[in-house]
Structures are given as C-alpha cells and as structure tokens.
Symmetry: C4
C-alpha cells in the first residue's frame, strides 16, 4: 500500500540495558528496543550486529519482519548467537534486504519511576 | 510566510500507548502524540496508517491540518476506522498532500512520576 | 575553526510548556529549550516563529547567536512580540542567516521527579 | 564487515551536565554521553570541541575509537585540555578521520527518579 520506505542499513550508537528494574515484568523491566517497520509487500530479512567497547562484534542476530508489519525487538531477548550482557555499553548495526525504518527506545526502571529515551536511528 | 517545509511521507517505527496512568486526565494520561506542523499556505490533508505485529495495517485515519497551523494528534483519540489498542506494539506511516513536519512523543505515567520520549520522525 | 555547519531553516513540530513545576527555580522549572549552535565565524541572526493550532503564527522572535557560541533559548523566556502561553500546543520554525544546528529539549517537572525529552530538530 | 558507516563531522547543540545526583556512583551520576560507533576496519581518531555561550570554544579533546568498536564517552570525564563545567550550557562538534555514528544521551538524577534524553546527533 505504501511501498518501500526507509533504508537497508541503520546504526544505533547508544546501547545499554540496565541490570536492575522496579515494577512488574515484563512491561516495566529495564530494556532496550529496536522498533522495526516494514511497509513493503515483501518480508524483510533483518540482521543485527552488536558492537562492544573491548571485543569483536557479535552477530548476526537474524529476524524476519513480515510484509506490512512492525516488530519491536527487545535487545534483552536476543539469545542467538549470544545474549546481550547487562550494564554494558554496546551499539548496533541493523541491515535488511528490503528498506525498513528503525527507532531506538530504552526504558530504565532502576529507580522508583521509570525513565524513557527514544530516537530515530541513523539511516546509512 | 515560510512556504512549504518538510516531507509528504513520514514514518514512526515506535508506538505503544501504556494502558495505565497516574495523575489528572487528560494532561497526565499516558499517551502518544504525532505533532504535525503545516507551514504552507494550503490546508494539509493527512492520512495516518497504523501497522501492527500480527495483523494487516489499519487506516487511513484522516486529519486536516489547516494552513499555518500545528496539530498535535493523540493516537489515544483516533477512533475511525478503529481505536488504537492499549499495551500493544504499533508503528505508523503519515502521508500528506503538502509537505509537513512530524515529531513523535510519548508520555508514560504508569509509575509515580511521568517519563517522556520524543524524536523527529523519519522523513521518507 | 570548524566553519559553517548545519542549516538555515529548522522545524520543531512538538512544543508544550507545562504550567506546573516541582523543585527549585529556574533549573527545575518546567521548560522547553531550543539549543542553537553557531560554529561559524559570523554572528547568526536567528528568527523564531511560533505556530499554534487555532490562530495565526506569532513572530519573529529575534535572537543573535554570536560567532563560535551556543545559545540555549528557553521558550519560557520569549517575550517580544508576545509570551508563549503555558499548557498550549505549539510548534516552531527557526531561520538563520548563517547555518546553525538546532536541538529541542523539554524538562517536565509537573510530577515529583522530572522527565526529559530531546531530539535533533528537522533540518529543512 | 560493515565497512564505513556514518559521517566525519557531527554536531550536538544540546549540552548540560547537572551538578547534583541521586543514587550510587558512577551509574546513577548525572551525566552526558557521546556514543561513538566505528564500524570500519581502521581506528577512528576523534576530536571533540566544546562550545559555550560566553567564551571561545575549548578543545580538541582527542579520543581513539578502535576499529569495529563503540566508545561511550562521558563528557563528565573529559579532562584535557580542561574539564567541562557543571550546570553550564554547552554544545559540541565531533570530527573523525573515518566515518562514525554519534548519539547523544543525558541521565539526570537530580530528583528522586532519573530522567533520560537521547537523540541521534546532526550529521554535517
């Protein structure tokens, strides 16, 4: 309906999953999300690579975003090839075989009222 | 005065209206907003389409932003063709017949002090 | 040293100064800021125009950002030609005779712990 | 693996390190961060220059982001040529000899629950 919108390569330079949380799981668990939007009529095969400060990148984490769907991927839930460590600086590159749109969000509930941040990712 | 500024197609990959709130309505109700700015001398006919993770997109939601006006549209208030479900991941595409500027904001008051996020949307 | 960086026209579609605050003034007063950065070797003559939902735009508000300086302008402090009303949706266009960079920030201290939002503005 | 992604010149117009904090150091200390991502196979030699409202810029602060690494630089920790003053408006220009991606984040813990803001920086 809307055709292809976005970019095939995105970067998120910020990344940090707080190790502590306040409130009911899973909605108030401290987490980071990559919101992926695929407006096209083809499934998007997405690969996420995680960069660290002191070791080689890890990935790819492979995700399918079906045609005309959004998928909000919690970095907390990434398991294969390895979980993302908590309380650790990271960054990510997201590639897709069809154009997608990517937005980055964190919920931080370490203290007694949650904080939020969000930004459009960088379209390379 | 400023002529046409912006784009005719915008994407917001994040979307989530918390189902709970703390504080007086409507200002402290948990909500998401698409802030639309039309600097042109013609009315903007805007269509919003909502994308989900597990079903076909819903829309269009039709909105007019008059010439030289801003309209801050709460996704909570969208009713036709269908209300946006709470506590549900979504994303949106916003199209307009004249260039506009779009910014996305959430107020989350589930816990005892509100959190905010905001980002410029993606100009396609 | 860095020459001219940025754009001569910027848009901020979000705008809302909460009418209530918690904590010491002025640092914890609910406010919105346009952060202006002029990296060039010439003073920037900046004009801000405010757009509303239900009446004609107001402005220009004239500001000088000296060469190689940043100025973080609180919308709360704009007085001429008219103060910005509280608890009211608005948006803004910022023009400059030399390229500048603009970022938009809100501090909301209506409840008992402040919230923040920020985004790069839209470079037209 | 991903080659060069990003830009060699970035601007962050917002900048303010709150002088007060609530909670354990260093994770809950009020701070600002420039998240730098270098996806290339060459080390990035990064220079940060800090702009103020009432005096000449200070810098460069020199940082190396190794090949295929991210470095989340706390402005609080910058010391040479001079520390960044607290409770003071500033802005920054970040240059690199290879393309990098930059995201700006603040954690503000002055009140009893922290607030966050983040945005992609402006790619010049």
């Amino acid at each position: 309906m809307h055709g292809e919108i976005g970019s095939k390569v995105w970067a998120i330079a910020e990344g940090y999953i707080p190790g502590e949380s306040t409130g009911p799981e899973p909605e108030m668990t401290s987490h980071e999300t990559a919101c992926l939007l695929n407006t096209s009529d083809a499934d998007a095969h997405v690969n996420i690579t995680i960069f660290f400060s002191n070791r080689e990148p890890v990935g790819p984490y492979s995700i399918i975003v079906p045609a005309r769907r959004t998928k909000h991927v919690r970095f907390n839930d990434l398991k294969d090839p390895a979980p993302i460590p908590r309380d650790t600086d990271y960054a990510s590159i997201i590639t897709s075989d069809v154009p997608i749109v990517v937005q980055h969000t964190r919920l931080d509930s370490r203290q007694n009222a949650n904080a939020l941040l969000s930004t459009i990712a960088f379209a390379a």
